[in-house]
Symmetry: C2
Subunit: 326 residues, 2 copies
Amino acid sequence: MTLVLSPEDVFASTDIPKMIDAIENGIREQATDSVEMPPRLNIPTTSGFFRIMPAVMKTSGVMGLKIFNGSVEHGVRYVIAIYDEAKGDLLTLLDAAYLTGARTGATTGIATKYLARENSQSVGVIGSGLEGRTNLAAVCAVRDISRAKVFSPNPNNRERFANEMSASLNFEIRSVSTPEEAVSGTDIVVVATNTTGQGDLIAYKGEWMESGQHINSIGATGGKLREINPECFSRANQIGVDSEFQVKAESGDAIAAVETGAWDSKKIEELTSLVTKPFNRENDHITLFKSVGTAVQDVMSGYAVYQEAKRRGLGKEINFLEHKLF
Amino acid sequence: MTLVLSPEDVFASTDIPKMIDAIENGIREQATDSVEMPPRLNIPTTSGFFRIMPAVMKTSGVMGLKIFNGSVEHGVRYVIAIYDEAKGDLLTLLDAAYLTGARTGATTGIATKYLARENSQSVGVIGSGLEGRTNLAAVCAVRDISRAKVFSPNPNNRERFANEMSASLNFEIRSVSTPEEAVSGTDIVVVATNTTGQGDLIAYKGEWMESGQHINSIGATGGKLREINPECFSRANQIGVDSEFQVKAESGDAIAAVETGAWDSKKIEELTSLVTKPFNRENDHITLFKSVGTAVQDVMSGYAVYQEAKRRGLGKEINFLEHKLF
């Protein structure tokens, strides 16, 4: 049987600390040679895109893919299909709208665990959407955070974020009226926006970076989007990425950094290296994490959610791919 | 809503002549620049393969992909997902085990329509499986066939094929005990086997080709499989393929033909060219069609089946990808 999971089922079956562990296991496996992850397919459609991201995890015993399509007019739809790697059974089909936000946050948690100062206590968040929430929650899962600030251009959105996330995380989150104020004096920054870089619309600027700060930037995952400027790449002492190839190919921020000469390959470390090799952070260094998402993150988080949903009896079983052919 | 279709639903919603038309429309669209079809992904797994074949058909207004995995021990599972190209809605998820056989047959029908002699009346079939059935049915949809012979190594299988297909097609099909006998004196040949080429296991040999004959070979879709020998490629005057790139990359028969020097690019025509440009066949020429399958065939046939299943009220609707995100 195949378990079909709605975003509500996925939400109820998501535990951010467990998802961080699941994805970190996937990244450790990626550092061996037992993962097959071809470059994702990015196919233009009349009004948007159709993307396909597969991964085969031979040691974890799962394989699958995310299929997502989107356009400005009709929004984005995400499906993840997870298979048993050895037997080939289709275990689950997930509506991955929430999962994509959760796994992006969990991946930021892994980067923060390996890049941010151990004694980090405060977070500045730019962006009040789903990704801002999951990224902040994941940062709080790996560091002992006791205060945070949030900025979003819409006052109602940032107030709501502050109230809801304060209740969820059990410490005070202040809504502030400028991005500079949100990040000033904080140990860790989360930039999670859909800004375009048109005009002055860069969400976070390198000139705001502070000694010892760690910055996570997970937006601008399309070539025409921008949320941080090239100075962020030139000022950071070390830069973590989930996939150097994919970040350079797809992130508008990384493309701009390459074009302006701010991209320095010597400073770049992929997560596979960060989680497997000792990394010594200088306390006054500035670190940056830039991600665009990988199929390993999707497959490992999707499988973790599937297991939890099964345990809780959530979702809907359908009899699919188990018919004898006449 | 997304319509989930079992192989029985797909079978009941398949009309071979209509599927030939649907795929031919897709191939005509492919000859313009409104189709996006990247090379398919072929990912090795521990015990087999995981393959992903997408296509975006901007004029037809559909897009989708086939996902299939297989191993010797656990068999093959095929899923096709079809989306509305403009809106991005997931219209249907099909168990494509039967559909894959049907669309392979329908594609052979298109090749036969453009390559075989107009006055072809007889067919020799080698192979008694699903593909033998769908390919013979499709040949009968494009030529006025009045007799056929079938060979398969297992006498029970070839007898059953002869009885069932005689009843279905309303003319006599004879079961014969050698492949040479099956194809001797016939106008059109269908080779649809899973032979490996080990030892003497070539299902059809170039030395059996007859003046004026048209041969369809749809097996040996993996590099290690073989069903026709290089002499077939050297003796044929014209050779049709569904995708020259994919046939040369994946078909064991084509790989062997290239290696032995029997592959002559000047004789090769893709279906996109055969269906859009006049092709003058000499009556005494020998023609060969070799296919490995394309995503355009999957998406166009899957959409045709979806439309017919909806009309008939078949399948099961599930509420998927239509949840508001909280």
